[in-house]
Symmetry: C2
Subunit: 228 residues, 2 copies
DNA sequence: AACAATATCTTGATCAGTCAAGATAAAATG
DNA sequence: CATTTTATCTTGACTGATCAAGATATTGTT
């Protein structure tokens, strides 16, 4: 007879990645499933099943096979800590180290799991306890409070004047392209007649420059309406 | 019948640590053995045997079971890259991030394996392509050239005037203590009559302060004689 | 040289994380 | 509701890194 010892070891970076994935999807859609997590982590569903059983034991998620899957308070808090690390690191890499906003995501994805609390603290202080990362994502505070960024995906916006408040951070090519076209956080522009049939949006910047971008890309850019 | 496929995957951080260990011992004593490596990495000899067979296949070490063990040129170069990373990171953590020289070793031990070449480059430039880390260890240059630091272990020094040029970086407590007593890199002092029987050395700093330290600790501090 | 001590090597096992592929349950469709 | 599709779960296997413990070689001693 085999005795199930369960897990004795600590939350490795693997665990942190699972928690992050669940959090991300809960934030995006209000809930998640084994399949979604598997897709996000590029792993088979069976692997996620196994992992969720472990995380349930550790009380990091609440997992009822085939029924429901969600973070516990503890799990959410752990996930938010990782997100905080990730975003502080991204901002650090851009502001202090002078890296480009299109290349910091990968690096932060690794560093978020290994940097000491002490170093993270230095970073936080050095940056002046910032509230948003280079892509406009809010940085959870020390207590795990996460500000909401309310913004419209550009592909759903009507014609009018807007300011860019956030851009999805995981498409490095898009970020590079946006940068080349002056479309960074805080940039303001006018959106012309949304001709959805063509799948192309046209933007006019204050410099007069016009930029076209596809709905696909526009879906990654989040804006808020401005009066001017 | 089982076909031996060998290793298909890349040099993980584990491999880097083995290479570093071999390098360190070759530098310290001119050669190394399975047992020494095992001791340094806190691993059983059998584990080292297995690893060395793999590294031999990868042409990173030259391993003749029970006969000899040494780095190949390629292995040495790989090891020096890791050392370069380690020392640049240590200096970065002290100079830019304001961490204490007694607490950067652990952090660098992890970061050395995960930081991108790009980020390392920024660090190198930001620090002005430095030649020595906070503990006085030389930083290998981009091409893997490693300057020699010639210095005497303090426990072998005669009475006279000396300057501290290097301190072993792996004893955090000692580093903390040295710092508290003003004994940092570049500090000059007079060493009094080495009374070896008692196992204690006495140092007089320019401030007039006298400090005693044991031979054990003194062995970790490396000095060069000065005229004054 | 013969024996003891030490260093090294081999073998079988374990652990975390994963996949493949088949089993099962739930949801959607007619 | 019966059937098909889809989602999920289970099982057995594999990989890299490791250890324990026994086997073997090398070295040192008398």
């Amino acid at each position: 007879m085999k005795i199930e010892l369960g897990w004795l070891l600590m939350a490795t970076s693997t665990v942190e990645n699972y928690l992050k994935a669940v959090l991300r999807q809960e934030e995006a859609t209000g809930s998640t499933t084994v399949g979604e997590v598997a897709k996000e982590l590029a792993v088979t569903p069976g692997t996620v099943t196994t992992m969720m059983k472990h995380l349930d034991e550790e009380k990091l998620v609440d997992y009822q096979p085939r029924k429901s899957l969600s973070l516990t308070l503890e799990g959410r808090s752990a996930a938010l800590k990782v997100v905080r690390r990730h975003r502080l690191i991204e901002l650090f890499l851009v502001q202090i180290m002078g890296l480009d906003w299109s290349e910091v995501h990968e690096e932060a994805e690794i560093l978020e799991h290994v940097i000491s609390d002490r170093l993270l603290d230095r970073i936080d202080v050095m940056l002046g306890e910032p509230t948003h990362d280079p892509h406009g994502d809010p940085i959870p505070d020390r207590d795990g409070n996460l500000a909401q960024v309310e913004a419209t995906p550009l592909d759903e916006a009507e014609g009018g004047n807007y300011r860019i408040v956030r851009v999805s951070d995981d498409d490095s090519d898009l970020l590079g392209w946006l940068d080349e076209n002056g479309l960074t956080i805080g940039e303001e522009f006018a959106l012309a007649h949304p001709n959805r049939a063509a799948g192309v949006l046209e933007i006019s910047r204050s410099t007069g420059a016009k930029v076209q971008l596809g709905v696909q890309a526009a879906g990654q850019v989040f804006v808020e309406a401005i009066s001017a």
